[in-house]
Amino acid sequence: MKRKKLLSLVLAVSMLASMIVGCGGGSGAAGTSSSDSGSSAASGEVEEITWMFWDDLNATEDLISKGYKDVIDRFNADYEGKYHCTPVTTNLEEYYTKLNALVASGETPDLFIVSPGPNLTDYVTPGVAADLTDILKTENPDWYASFNGGMFDKQTYDGKIYAVPTNLAAACVFYNTEIFEEAGAAVPTTYDELLDACDKIQAAGYTPISISAGTAWCLSMLVGYLCDREGGPDNLDAITNGTGSWTDQTFINAGNKMVELSQYFQKTAAGDTNDVATAAFYNGEAAMLIQGSWVIGQINGANPEFEDKCGVFQFPAIEGGADPNRIIAKTDSLAMSSKTEHKDAVVALMKYFTDDTAQKYTAEVGGKIPVTSVEVDYDKAPKQLKYVMDILANTTGTLGFYNESLATTEAGSEFDNQMVSVYLGDQTVEEGFQKVQDYYEENIWNK
């Protein structure tokens, strides 16, 4: 009996111990990292910071992501013994969800990448993103002066800067010159010419346009361009001010044109993800891809031989529509956590993202547009970048992605979803825009 008692006591104690260890494990681990870095800062040891990014730096083939990896490696090597940065990575689709979960649990990364627009607003309004105005203008005026003009426009709220851009991309139409030649199609400058080119390419046995509706923003980018070509900046301004309506004729026309173009999409567009649709383009199955110029790094990283036959043209004009020289542009931006205890380390890292080495790499290898006035050797850069720069030289204005230019991230998501639904034939164009209108009336204008 005694032996039994002893045995049950040992078992009970070990069970309790395992429970305590099990419960304490998670918080203990999380606590260790912060207390380590806190005490190390005081004792002059390595300051640990985290940077959150939307691609796996070790597995990626994307040249821009590889460039970011170089930045982190350079930073960690140069500041060895003083600062150390650990990247926290996830895939793009789940990026904001994971970031939001970290923010909500009080574990905001010291530095995180973010798209300007409602995504950045989500972190500025509740005070998650730090005000960088003084850091840029007062403490580091040389650094601030190195940026090109207008680069902070979309990161500024009430005169205060909340994020630092790292590169710029413009959305254009990438095309396969060989397929165009074989089909006898000319580079279109108007919507009707685009339809004509699509007919010829289809007749030659190729898919004219590769697009993804599985990744909703890809399809909605096309609709965004059509909306802007139809109604110009007035369209979005009127929606923002509450003076316009989503059921205005320009929006309906844009929707109808998307439906008209959809007969030229690959058959699997409804289920294809962005990566699959892009691969169909650089593998020579489709003739055109409407995408941001960040795709240059992806295309050339995955299929380097494709660079020579990849042309770029501006999204075509709509006859009788608005200004055809406006272009969708977007920056990657870095926001600093307002709660970070390692401000100096984070600022040092941000400088590495925008120094000459990183910015030259951005253009010459990654194929994206630098945000600073660094000298770039365009002969070394991917050929597609030169075409994009030529297009940019003639633009009269830029606009953000439609879904990232609306009032909230949810409004952007609603626009994306309704457009996918229209494309799938689930509802008419009028019904789709009416639903966006209903959403705005209920959640934005009359809130």
Partner: protein, 317 residues
């Protein structure tokens, strides 16, 4: 001290040794012992379940973005829920999922359990094969099946070889219950049928062989034995398995999220994915909590109904 191996009259359905009964009675009179034994479970239950549930109920009456303090708004979240079109779709999908799971898991779980208890060779092998998906990560399985059903890989490529154009398994939106929901429900059945099978097998193995022997002597066929001996004795386990299936399928999240993320245009949204999107994607934790409360109430109602309507008689086996 040795406890005599005396079998006493049946108490409940188990035969309990006298020594144990006496010891238990003595223990149950000691209030300290009761408190001590209950404490770990009670503390854990309170910390992990009860307090968060109370918090969620409170947040469901607030506008709360988890970054600024919650602001009490009364029933606003609930009135919004009633008008929310996506909530309607999510409810419909969750209820479909629950009914499909209960029926299919019951049928296939029983069928597999019946078959496996009757085969002589390879029982353990098949048991492990059917149970294997249960222990694998749902997130990984969701991705795997997403690839299998994606238009450019897997099934559609095999169909294309036979000259058949496969449907858009995860993007089709025609019909009341759309194709992607059937696909996800099928994958969930594949993943969890092993669990139901194990529960039924455990119960079947507990049935005394003397009952079967008696039935054979009385001239029963195998089918009749299954109908009149096995099935009635399986009822308690059926109620348990059905409750588990119902609650599990109402809370279902991982496969849906990994295969469709609730899309296209919220058509495959279930309650848990809608809750997740509203909370973690759009920072609307108050609204997400209201969805959570509805989910909790649904789970309670379903469990209550199953326990009320599935009659359970305890037999001595």
């Amino acid at each position: 001290m040795l406890i005599p191996h005396v079998v006493y009259p049946v108490q409940d359905q188990f035969c309990i040794r006298k020594g144990t009964v006496v010891y238990m009675n003595k223990m149950l009179r000691d209030k300290k012992a009761i408190a001590l034994f209950m404490a770990p479970a009670l503390i854990l239950f309170t910390l992990v379940l009860f307090i968060p549930i109370c918090q969620s109920v409170y947040y469901s009456f607030c506008e709360y973005d988890a970054l600024t303090p919650p602001r009490f708004v009364g029933l606003k979240n609930y009135t919004k829920l009633i008008k929310d079109e996506t909530m309607g779709i999510a409810l419909k999908n969750s209820v479909f999922f629950m009914i499909f799971s209960i029926v299919s898991q019951l049928l296939f779980g029983l069928l597999l359990a019946g078959l496996l208890t009757n085969i002589k060779r390879g029982r353990n092998l098949f048991k492990n094969i059917y149970y294997l998906p249960c222990v694998l990560s749902s997130a990984a399985l969701g991705l795997l099946w997403m690839f299998i059903f994606s238009p450019k890989l897997g099934i559609n490529q095999i169909l294309a070889m036979a000259g058949i154009e496969g449907p858009l398994w995860l993007m089709d939106t025609k019909g009341t219950i759309i194709l992607p929901m059937w696909v996800i429900a099928f994958v969930a059945l594949w993943q969890y049928v092993g669990q139901s099978m194990m529960l039924y097998m455990a119960q079947i193995s507990g049935v005394s062989t003397s009952l079967y022997e008696a039935s054979y002597i009385d001239g029963c066929t195998r089918a009749k034995t299954f109908r009149y001996i096995t099935l009635p004795l399986l009822r308690p386990m059926m109620a348990t398995a059905m409750s588990l299936n119902a609650i599990g399928s109402l809370k279902f999240f991982d496969l849906v999220f990994n295969m469709t993320e609730g899309g296209p245009n919220h058509k495959t949204e279930v309650l848990a994915t809608h809750l997740y999107t509203q909370g973690f994607k759009f920072f609307k934790y108050g609204y997400a909590s209201a969805i959570g409360v509805v989910l909790l109430i649904l789970c309670l109602i379903v469990t209550f109904l199953i326990n009320k309507f599935v009659k359970v008689d305890n037999y001595e086996m």
